[in-house]
Symmetry: C2
């Protein structure tokens, strides 16, 4: 019994319920509900009495119970890779704004790029009965979400397409962006152009690599294996890869970096070289803050993370609003921003 009592004391810290409010105001339970929800059918006088009781008791409606009853949580989930990554902050914020406009809260979680964690998180959000789910895939098999989607959880994938299921996806045009970026280097006269990217099992990485190949092929330049580094992107490894392709007689004269972490690492390597009087051209995929303040400014293929999030969220809410849509892939264009590093001519 002590147990029971203790529990009763700590449950929500013993907050007042509508029943308590009703008792204090001397009205029925449902009348309180009506006042709280602004429903019609309550006289001004009754409403005043109820409102007084609410204020006196500091009553706040328990949304858990409400959710249980109504079957809608007015919340959506966002599974991303790492909120600390500057790419995801603005994306998440954009999603939040759209959610807010639709009266929903956003719950986001980081998968740390681990497929198991992505799944664990996505399913936990489903257990909470989020109305919809935005997923930035870490894994490449999303069949585990099929039952959830069939059961009515609206789902939109962002930044990368879903694996092995047919679903909405909102993506940046990685292929086109990379092709344009590399073509820009070609246009400056470069022929030996390096590519440093993530593992091709990641869709965006594969697409960017494809863009690189396409641009080189368009220019009639055969690619040498030594010019490409496709793998883990921890700074040390990228640094070594960059130094390798930048040394020897057949060193590249320009580098295309596959994502912004890579870009930053390459910038460090190149600024070391610059001190020794050697300048190498660089175009990076994805913009980053202060890219324009560096010397030289870094030319990038920019994608709009916020727009990505906004578009995906709008799509999600279209589904939630009852629109029945076929799964679709939406690709947003990228934009080449020239700032100097990409306009360095080849040094022979």
């Amino acid at each position: 019994m002590g147990e029971t009592t203790r529990r009763a004391e700590t449950r929500y810290g013993n907050r007042p319920t509508m029943k308590d409010v009703a008792a204090r105001a001397g009205v029925g339970l449902k009348t309180v509900s009506r006042v709280v929800n602004g429903e019609p059918g309550v006289t001004a006088d009754t409403e005043r009495r109820v409102q007084e009781a609410i204020d006196a008791l500091n009553f706040r409606r328990n949304d858990s119970a409400r959710v249980l009853r109504k079957g809608r949580t007015a919340s959506i989930g966002l599974v991303l890779e790492d909120l600390a990554d500057p790419f995801y902050g603005p994306l998440s914020r954009a999603v939040e704004e759209v959610a807010r406009a639709h009266g929903a809260l956003l719950i986001n979680g980081s998968s740390a790029e681990e497929p198991e964690r992505e799944q664990e998180l996505a399913l936990a959000l489903c257990a909470r009965r989020v109305d919809g789910l935005l997923v930035i895939p870490a894994g490449d098999d999303h069949r585990y979400l099929e039952p959830e989607m069939r059961a009515g959880v609206a789902t939109v994938f962002v930044d990368r397409p879903a694996g092995r299921i047919d679903a909405d996806a909102v993506l940046s045009d990685s292929f086109g962006g990379a092709r344009d970026g590399v073509a820009h280097l070609v246009a400056q006269g470069h022929r030996r152009i390096g590519f440093i990217g993530d593992q091709p099992r990641i869709h965006t990485a594969a697409e960017r690599l494809r863009g690189y190949r396409a641009a080189m092929e368009d220019a009639g330049i055969p690619i040498e294996d030594a010019w490409m580094s496709l793998g883990l992107t921890d700074p040390e490894r990228v640094r070594r890869a960059a130094e390798e392709m930048l040394s020897g007689p057949d060193a590249v004269t320009a580098v295309f970096a596959g994502n912004n972490r890579v870009t930053v690492t390459v910038v460090r390597v190149l600024s070391g070289l610059a001190e020794r009087g050697r300048s190498v051209a660089l175009v990076g995929f994805d913009d980053f803050e202060l890219a324009d303040l560096l010397q030289p400014g870094v030319t990038v293929v920019a994608q709009d993370a916020a727009q990505l999030g906004r578009t995906a969220a709008e799509r999600l809410f279209s589904r939630l609003d009852g629109l029945s849509l076929d799964p679709e892939r939406i690709e947003l264009p990228t934009r080449l921003i020239t700032r100097g590093s990409g306009e360095i001519p080849p040094a022979f």
Copy 2:
């Protein structure tokens, strides 16, 4: 009736409940509950039958109902200013990791620095019965949270203290950091040192200003009004303020920037001056990515956003674990990182 039917169809998309699982497995409701929660007292055979039914129906426990029954949501809320700001991403991520370690989900929302929105968000989170609340204040009056705290919502304020109530706060040592940063400039020989900061109604801004004043006083340097700009921090205004204090015969020879948005803007102004051969020293409060890559590298007083979040979250969970603690203010130290811009000597 059509209405009712429609509703029944869309409620959670008609997901199976424990009752359905029980019916299919030919067992009682409670037995399913036991299996789902791994409670003892179920024979292997029964458990297998239940598990099969669960898999066949794709059952997933409805956490809303669970929450209602148990009185704990296993989620905490974080109200911050803007998730798109690179300061908050790592902070939020750190909080998430701590929450995860305690089996809780994190719901965060952006106040956009509007006090009303902060309140709206915080109370919405309370209505969802989050177990605890982390708040990065936008407003300066948090009495509205008193009833919630009394009702048992553990609350910890982060980055800035709560206004008009007594509560936990985890802060960076803004005063000490700013004093050290300005003292560093004094040590380089500067005497005319400018300060550009946020409105002093913001606690951190006021503390940093106080640190500036203290360092100047320690050095026996009387401050001129023209050296200080305390106000809105939109880039255009900061730019004008910087240009103003950098012109005329009594122009400052060094600038202390009160936060990283200001720092970046000042860097832009100074890089313009540098092209005309004039170099001005700069120390900024708060580190930012690539600060070391700029020319010169930017000397900063760094605070550890992740540590701030981690500390606050740990404190929150200590309270949730039942520790009864007096409200306390925890100050984390800052660290001066010299990179060049702060070591520029005064130009007379």
